[in-house]
């Protein structure tokens, strides 16, 4: 079991099983404090056009100082071709081969396009990327993505930013049962208990952004998530008791009082 303690992705090992997104924070300082408190070693970032008037928005220098590994996402891509291009650009900037493939053409629900996601993931895995696809919680697609060479699959808990939690729990369990690669729940998680539940289910990690960024005190919420992820993972490793449909006494029932 000891060999399993670290999260393995693309031949690299990580002590933390909490991956943090960097969107929606009120300031770079608040974001950096939250990342520190989370203990995350993997952090997602997005691409945008360089703006000379706002060079202070630059995240690269402060994130490099934290020593975290960046996972550029392909957000903004509407199809596989655009996602592949975004991945190439992200790799140029980050210097790492991690990419979170994220293709969600409909801004109303931001559901990942399974066909374009599969195609982009297949090509990028062949190109040597460490591919982490954001995907619908579909066990068939998960297996196809695994066969295509992805380093992990990232099924959604619920729609991005909604905080509706693990609405896909039953499907995520099916994905985990069949998967030979890490399963990371991405999107929808609202509170640490949901992150713990995902880990107890057998997820290898969780990716949290809005729940930390939108918290009253993001750094405090980040450390709460870190504790929850650890608790859930430890519980899973310890072996959770099975359910029983009738009561099973924990104290003796001998009639010595009568």
């Amino acid at each position: 079991m000891n060999g399993d303690l670290k999260l393995k992705l693309g031949g690299q090992e990580f002590a933390s099983r909490l991956i943090v997104g960097t969107g929606k924070f009120s300031s770079v300082e608040v974001m950096l404090e939250a990342i520190k408190a989370s203990g995350a070693e993997l952090v997602t970032v997005a691409l945008r056009r360089f703006n000379r008037e706002r060079p202070s928005d630059d995240l690269m220098a402060p994130l490099a100082r934290l020593g975290v590994t960046l996972i550029p996402n392909t957000s903004g891509a509407r199809n596989a071709e655009e996602a592949i291009r975004a991945a190439m650009l992200g790799r140029e900037l980050s210097g790492s081969s991690f990419v979170k493939v994220e293709i969600h053409p409909n801004p109303h629900h931001l559901m990942p396009d399974p066909i374009e996601t599969y195609e982009a993931s297949r090509v990028l895995a062949k190109e040597g990327f460490i591919v982490l696809p954001y995907m619908p919680a579909d066990p068939v697609l998960a297996k196809r993505l695994e066969d295509a060479g992805c380093a992990a699959v990232m099924p959604l808990g619920s729609a991005i930013g909604t905080g509706h939690g693990l609405s896909t729990a039953e499907m995520v369990k099916l994905i985990i049962a069949d998967s030979g690669i890490p399963v990371i729940v991405d999107a929808g998680i609202r509170s640490p208990s949901e992150a713990a539940a995902a880990m107890e289910m057998g997820c290898s990690a969780v990716l949290v952004n809005s729940a930390i960024a939108a918290a009253g005190i993001p750094a405090a919420m980040a450390s709460a998530f870190a504790a929850a992820v650890n608790a859930g993972y430890s519980a899973r490793q310890a072996g959770i008791m099975s359910r029983c449909d009738h009561a099973v006494a924990t104290s003796p029932l001998t009639n010595f009082l009568s």
């Binding site: 997005a46 691409l47 945008r48 360089f50 995240l59 957000s75 991005i160």
Partner: protein, 66 residues
């Protein structure tokens, strides 16, 4: 010479390389990724790429994202 940089028209007095343009714009080269006409230009190749009339450049950096 006319270029489009991040969606905006720009006029350059003298043609040059991509590396020279970034330098003139005061951009720290390690902080950006560049695409010309949809093609990603590796950091190491920027001084070998001469800009041409009508080129469309995208100069990108990281922002917060999930």
């Amino acid at each position: 010479m006319n270029l489009t940089v991040n969606g905006e028209k720009q006029e350059l007095m003298e043609p040059g390389t991509l590396g020279q343009l970034l330098d003139r714009l005061g951009i720290v080269p390690e902080r950006v990724a560049v695409m010309i006409n949809g093609r990603v230009i590796p950091k190491t190749g920027r001084n070998d790429v001469s800009l041409r009339e009508g080129d469309r450049l995208e100069i990108l950096t990281f922002m917060g994202g999930g």
